[in-house]
Symmetry: C2
Subunit: 409 residues, 2 copies
């Protein structure tokens, strides 16, 4: 059996194959960047058209009630919760990932008074580090203590640590932390644990309850298919709901937003972390994305992701042995993307895009291929590796036309 | 000449009459709630459809470059700046009003070290008060000093005041502060001045340069016609750009967002106050809204708003003398909405909505009518007052069916 035949058989046996049908992908495109922007749910154009032309255009302000704009964040939270292993009322959908991370870092520091240290990975998505330093600066002190990986964690935990915050899946390499183990270590040191799930939810077996993690943050536009810049979300474990602080109080987090009272009375639980007026159009995109995942369990999504990444690694090993694989071989320690290091990674990615294989580049030397269990087929990976081989054989990665950088890469 | 004939003549002479044609309003509806959600620009359905179906659906991640998603916030800022009397590079479009207000309050407190007092109005939009208390709490102290109006301002200014923050137009009464005078008083006391322009921009002669105000915040979904929950914006006067703090650093505010460096190097000037990934769909709505205002000057908008509010007050005086007008009579001291106090204001508003006149209610006793200079006609006001009269004459404001409150009012 040829590799392509084997891939076709894997696709035929895929229990999640129907999810691809819920999304639109252009004919002939191999899209391996769903970890940056997920494909569009087929429902999105008509739904957004209705929201814009009817709800906004015809019904105007009445749509806050009539069309459920007001309840849209809670409906998104309810749809999202099963993908996190959370209860609906432990999740709030609002703002950007950056803003939500800031809320949760403030929350953790308030819940652990007398402790001023946040532990993070040195290789975190950089904004996570900026946000952490920003939060500490606003509070007038504290320390951001950086680790290079799990091996360093125990050595930095002491009585000053308020929070250990890790991104489950590294945005460059795809390395995956054992969040349950991190949480146990943090708790043993009297600290809280936070996980950034931007590269996890919708692709991996996320289970915040099983991990016992205290706090989580994630975005809506990658594996959740919510559209560009879709609203982000926070999770707070129920045990912290009583007495949960309101570090950034605003009216949608008020117990009675329309009472317009001068004092802030927090809404119950995590709802108090909602912010200002939600961006309804972007939120509508997120609702379409979450509906496109309906019925898929985190375990199923991860099984497919593991199979896809395993198959892709096998193909790269067989056909492109000169590429250095940056992603862990251990299926338990990798996420849903595969990265290779290459001295001309930028040009490699551009040359592949010209061949209708879309991955992305991350400074300085990473070519990254996101394998979304919702929309990626095994046959796509055969095509992708054929095209990688063709780029390398043709020396296209050395050509100036692919090496010139544009604004966003 | 009848009142309706006079109104029709005012509409015929209106130099901004063409702006109504740029927006969609349902046939037969008198929409006086553009200060809560502006009418839909006629361009919005097709534009959003293109953004969703083509840019997201067909072009996917490539649209960040190709379709200008990446530059959309800067394009929105450039379109907005003339309506503020600002330069484009003094404005950043991002996040919600609440998040932006928090950024600016932190900025002010950092720019005035050793001063820990924020002065605000007791009757501010409540979220402004929540945000201010939240900001002070995060910084470990300080004082929120409340005033009841301009008459109290000088009495509370001292060497401890870092910032005087006022909302130009009161969301309940429509009372309008003299922002230039507030700024002069704040500066004389060594403090900075901030203005919340949520109920101003797009309707009044906003001029941040003439006022010499240091900081401003505003929202996109009222008089700017940006759609429900459209992104908000900040203004920072150029004199503060050198050394401007970055209270909430995130990647779109980085000098080189895609360098993915572990340290935060702020972008030039106010751009450093951008947050995380912008909500592209909602931002597209805002761009439509700003384009629908193109060519209208703040002075023209205010002239129309003043004429509308003056005419509406005249009609209310003549036909509904039993209603208590809450809005100042002095055209210089009122914004673009007219409010009346009524013991059954909620039912009054609901009864009017049933008669296709949409205003809104604000606790406890305010019926509010927003007169958007972009879309409100003088003849609409004649209809509105006829319907108010009919509601009062029929005692509909006393009927139970209109008094039962729904979730959002």
């Amino acid at each position: 059996m040829s590799t392509r035949e084997r891939a076709a058989e894997l696709d035929a046996q895929d229990p999640l194959a129907h999810l691809r049908e819920r999304h639109h992908l252009p004919e002939g495109l191999v899209y391996l960047d769903g970890n940056s922007l997920g494909a569009m749910p087929r429902t999105a154009p008509a739904r957004l058209q209705h929201t814009v032309a009817h709800e906004w255009g015809e019904r105007l302000i009445r749509s806050w009630n009539e069309s459920g704009w007001y309840t849209a964040p809670a409906r998104a939270a309810a749809a999202l919760a099963p993908l996190l292993g959370a209860d609906a009322d432990e999740v709030v959908v609002a703002d950007s990932t950056s803003v939500n991370l800031a809320k949760l870092l403030h929350t953790a520091l308030t819940l652990r008074p007398g402790r001023g240290v946040i532990v993070m990975e040195r290789g975190s998505f950089p904004t996570d580090l900026y946000v952490a330093r920003g939060v500490l600066a606003l509070r007038g002190g504290g320390e951001l203590r950086l680790v290079d990986g799990p091996q360093d964690l125990l050595g930095v935990l002491d009585d000053d640590v308020a929070l250990v915050s890790v991104t489950e899946v590294d945005f460059r390499t795809g390395f995956r932390w054992d969040v349950g183990a991190v949480t146990a270590s943090a708790h043993a040191a009297g600290a809280l644990a936070l996980v950034d799930l931007c590269h996890s939810t919708g692709a991996l077996d996320v289970d915040v309850h099983a991990w016992d993690v205290d706090l989580a943050v994630g975005c809506g536009y990658k594996f959740l298919h919510g559209g560009p810049g879709a609203p982000a979300h926070c999770y707070v474990a129920r045990r912290h709901h009583a007495g949960l602080p309101s570090p950034t109080p605003a009216w949608f987090g008020h117990a009675e937003p329309f009472a317009m009272s001068t004092g802030f009375t927090p809404a119950p639980g995590v709802q108090r972390l909602a912010g200002g007026t939600p961006p309804v159009l972007s939120l509508t995109g997120l609702l379409c994305g979450l509906e496109s995942l309906e019925g898929a369990t985190p375990a199923q999504l991860q099984a497919k992701a593991t199979a896809l990444t395993g198959f892709f690694l096998e193909l790269l090993d067989a056909h492109c042995p000169e590429l250095e694989i940056a992603t862990p071989r251990d299926p338990a320690r990798r996420g849903a993307h595969v990265s290779v290091r290459h001295p001309r990674a930028y040009a490699l990615v551009q040359a592949l895009i010209a061949r209708d294989v879309v991955g992305d580049f991350r400074d300085p030397d990473i070519a990254r291929f996101g394998l979304a269990p919702t929309t990626t087929r095994f046959v796509d990976l055969v095509t992708a590796v054929e095209q990688v081989r063709a780029v390398l054989d043709g020396g296209e990665d050395t050509q100036e036309r692919f090496a010139a950088r544009t604004a966003v890469t």
